[in-house]
């Protein structure tokens, strides 16, 4: 395992652990998802140079496109939550269910 593999694999695992555990705000969860996406982008960008197959370089671009969709939808959900509940604390979503 080279340093590139170790760094982006540990970054991916850290982001996933932070997403799975102890989230106070919805925006914190979205930021952890973005960190996971960033580590995937770095990992996918390191592949074409390591195997010298440069036609693979468009895969990180497409992944960035779909992650932009994910970020936009997540932020729209956060705005909707803020408008209905006044805050985006995840504990508040259990209160006053209607």
């Amino acid at each position: 395992m080279t340093l590139v593999h170790f760094s982006f694999c540990s970054a991916f695992t850290l982001g996933l652990t932070g997403l799975a555990l102890h989230r106070a705000h919805l925006l914190s969860a979205l930021l952890c998802l973005e960190g996971v996406m960033l580590s995937m982008y770095v990992g996918l960008s390191s592949w074409p140079t390591q195997i010298s197959l440069f036609s693979f370089s468009l895969v990180p671009m497409l992944m960035l496109t779909f992650s932009a969709c994910e970020a936009g939808t997540g932020l729209a959900l956060m705005v909707a939550t803020t408008r209905t509940h006044g805050t985006d604390n995840l504990h508040n979503l259990n209160l006053l269910q209607c």
Binding site: V4, S28, F54, M61, L62, A68, A80
Partner: protein
């Protein structure tokens, strides 16, 4: 060169530790900015200048600005930075985890790519050619990507506009 790229790889991991240790969203966004900047340096050190430019302009300049703007919706009276005790506990736990994994793995090998592809080379590299393939052979995938972005625009409108027929409506 190899030391600089290794430094920014460590910076990438430290940025993710800063995001994942559950600080307030202001500071988590700051940690993600650090991680994205370090990621730009890592990618350009590996020899992909166009992908690094895309990460810098699109990701750091476009998406993270929206995230930093959205942090205004999560205002807290007492925001927690990395000086709070709970956050410090998570930072220490994550650092111990990463170092343990490093030790269990038995260190890392030397990478042949980082030393070869220095910043002193050409500006236009192979990844420019690879990305340009998206506009010729990958045309349908480009079309799908653009269509998905347009669809996401309407999804965002429908989620957050608060119309009586949208997803955000008053219950009668």
């Amino acid at each position: 060169m190899i030391y600089m790229v290794s430094f920014f790889m460590v910076g990438l991991v430290l940025g993710l530790v800063a995001v994942a240790s559950n600080p307030s969203p202001y500071y988590a966004a700051l940690g993600l900015v650090v991680a994205a900047g370090a990621g730009c340096w890592v990618i350009v050190g590996l020899g992909s200048s166009f992908l690094s430019l895309v990460l810098f302009l699109i990701y750091l300049g476009g998406m993270l600005v929206v995230f930093a703007y959205s942090a205004a919706l999560t205002a807290e009276p007492y925001p927690e930075a990395w000086g709070s005790w709970s956050v410090v506990g998570y930072v220490v736990a994550y650092m111990v985890g990463v170092v343990t994994w490093y030790v269990v793995e038995g260190g890392v090998e030397e990478d042949g790519v980082v030393g070869l592809a220095g910043l002193e080379g050409y500006v236009v590299r192979g990844d420019w050619v690879g990305v340009s393939l998206m506009y010729s052979w990958g045309g349908w995938m480009l079309f799908v990507g653009g269509w998905v972005l347009l669809l996401t625009l309407f999804v965002v409108f429908e989620l957050s506009r608060g119309h009586y027929s949208g997803s955000l409506r008053a219950l009668e």
